[in-house]
Amino acid sequence: MKIKVRLFATLRDGRGKEVEVERGESFSTLDILEELKIRREEVALFLINGRDGSFETQLSEGDVVSLFPPVGGG
C-alpha cells in the first residue's frame, strides 16, 4: 500500500513537499513518521484527508496525510 504524505514548513527540510510512503498491508501515521525520520514532537498538527485523525489510525489506499510542525498566526 502507498500513502501520499504532504509536508509543510520546516518538515520539508531535506524531505521535499510531497513524498510517497510504501510499506506492507496496513500502517498508520506513526509508521510514516518512523519512515520519514520525523520525531512525534516535531508534528504539532496532522490531517488524514483534511480531517483530524489519530496517530494510530490505520490508513487505507488513496489516503493523503498532511503533517505540520508548530505554526500559527492570524
Binding site: R6, F8, K17, V71, G73
Partner: protein, 597 residues
Amino acid sequence: MSGYIGKILRVDLSSKTVKTEDLDLKLAQKFIGGRGLGTKMLMDEVDPGVDALSPDNKLIFMTGPLTGTNTPTGGRYMVITKSPLTGTVACSNSGGYWGPELKFAGYDGIIIEGKAAAPVYINIVDDKVEIRDASHLWGKVVSETTTVLENEHGEKVKVATIGPAGENLSRIAAVMNDRGRAAGRSGVGAVMGSKNLKAIVVKGSGKVEVADADKLKEVFSVCMKKIKENGVTGQGLPTYGTAVLVNIINENGVFPTNNFQQATFDKAEEISGETLAEKYLKKKDPCFRCPIACGRYCEVDDIKGAGPEYETIWAFGSDCGVSDLGGVIKANYWCNEMGVDTISAGATIAAAMELYEKGYLKNEDLGDGPELKWGNTDAIVEWTKRMGSADGLGAKLAQGSYRLCEMFGAPELSMTVKKQELPAYDPRGIQGHGVQYATSNRGGCHVRGYMISPEILGLPEKLDRFSLEGKPAWAKIFQDFTAAIDASGLCLFTSFAMGAEDYAGLMNAVCGTKMTGEDFVQSGERIWNLEKVYNLKAGIDSAQDTLPKRLLNEPIPEGPSKGWVHKLSELLPIYYELRGWDANGIPTTDKLKELGL
C-alpha cells in the same frame, strides 16, 4: 498610578485648541486601557446615533497601561471611534513604534474632536503640541508623507498618517503608522480624513513608570520563557510569519476561494508562507519590544515594504482566484501606500469579481480599468490603487463590499457581517469561529476571538471543528480574554503562549494592582458588554448577529469540509444565554450591574 501616564490630550480641530486633561484613574482601572477605556470615553462623549463622518464623531487614540513598558510586545495602541463602515463601535489595533512614543511624550491617549477648516497635522514634542498646516501633505501616499514629516521634524519622530483613501473618505480606509503598520479595520482612516487631519507626529523624551521593577523582571522572564518554548510563538511565527497558515487552512478545506464560492484553492502552494519565505522575504520586521517578530518585509521587482500577512495573501490571493504571489505583494504595497485595509480591499475586489462573473457589473462599468476576472493579477493591483484615489469604479469599491454589492443590486454576494468583510476562514467548516464572526462587536473579524486557535491549531487544546458542543462557551471566553489583552496594550499573539494569570501578573507589576487572572478576563467581559450596549444604542441590534446567507444555506461544494453549512441558529441562543443576555441578545440589567456598567 504607574503604567498609566495619567494625562489625556484633547485636540479640538474646529476651534484649534489643545488641552491636557487628567486621566480618571478609577475609570482606567475598570476598563484597563486601550480598547476598554477608549470605548468608555466614546460612550460618554459621542452620541451613538451620530453620523460617523460628521464633525460630531470623535477619533480616540488610546494606549494600554503596558504600552511602552518592558513587557513582551508592549507596543500597541488602538483607534476608537464610531465606524463609518459598520455603524458600530470601531476599535482598530496597531503595533509598530508610534504607541509607545505617545506615552514617552507624556500621554495615555488623544481625543480628537471637530473638523479642521483645511488639512492639518498635529505635531507633538512632549508637552509642546501644535496644529499645523498640511496642505503640502494632502494627496501624498503614506511613505512619502512619513518621509516629508521626518525631514521636517527629525528622523526619530514617529508618524501615524492616513493615505489618499482616508482623505477620500473610503469606508475601508486605515490609519497607518511607522509606514507599514495599520490600525486597519472598520474605516477609522475615513474618520480621520473627515476631520481634515492628515497625520499625528510624535516625539517623546519621557518614560513609563513601573510600580515594582523587580517583580516585573521576574514575571517578564516567566512570560518570555513561555513565548520562546511555545511552538507557535517560539518557532512558527518567527520563521514563517502568519502566512504559514495558507497551507494549513487550505488543507482543512476552509480556505475561502473566489468570494467564498469554494473552500479550497488548487494553487494554494504558490501563495503559501513557504513560497513567500523562499522567493520574496528579505527580513523580519518586528514591532516594539517584540520577541515573536511575526512581521515580514518583502521585495518584488521595484517594490518593497512591510507584509504581506496571511489575511492579505488570502484576500488578494485565493479570494480573488489569484495565484501570483508577486502580484499579491504589490496589491499589499498599494494598500499600505493608499492607507486602505488589506482584508476589506481584497475581499471587496473578490465581491466585484463575482458581480462581474454573474453579469451585475458590466464591461462599461470598468472604464479603462482591468477586467475583473478571477485570477487577474492586474485587477487586484490596479483596482487597489483606484480604490485609494477614488477613481471611476474605484470610488465605489472604496465603500466596501456591502455597499458595492448593494449598488449593483446583489447584496447577497457581499461576504460581510455588519457590513464588514469577513477574513480568511470559512466558518462552515469551523463552527465555533462562525459564532465568533456573527457576534463580533465590530462586524466580520477574526481577532475578536480567534477560535482558529482551538479548532484548527489545537491551542490550548484541539477541538473538533465541526462539532457544536461547547462552542458558544469557547467563543465567549476567547472574546472576553481578547478584549482584555487588547486593552492592556500587548499583542494578541502572546496569547498563543500566555494565560490570564500571566497578563494579570504583568499588570500587577506595572500598575501595582492586585488583579487575578479571573479579574483580567472579567474586565474583558465588561468591555465586551460595553461595546454591545454602544452598538444597541447605535441601532445595530442582534438581528445583525448573523452570517451571509451563502454560509448558512449553501453547503461547501468540495474538499475536506464538503457538505457543511454553518449552524448558527443552533448556537446563537446558547451564546446569548451564556452571556447573560436575553433571547433578543440584549444584556440584562442584572448582567450589566454585575459588571458595574
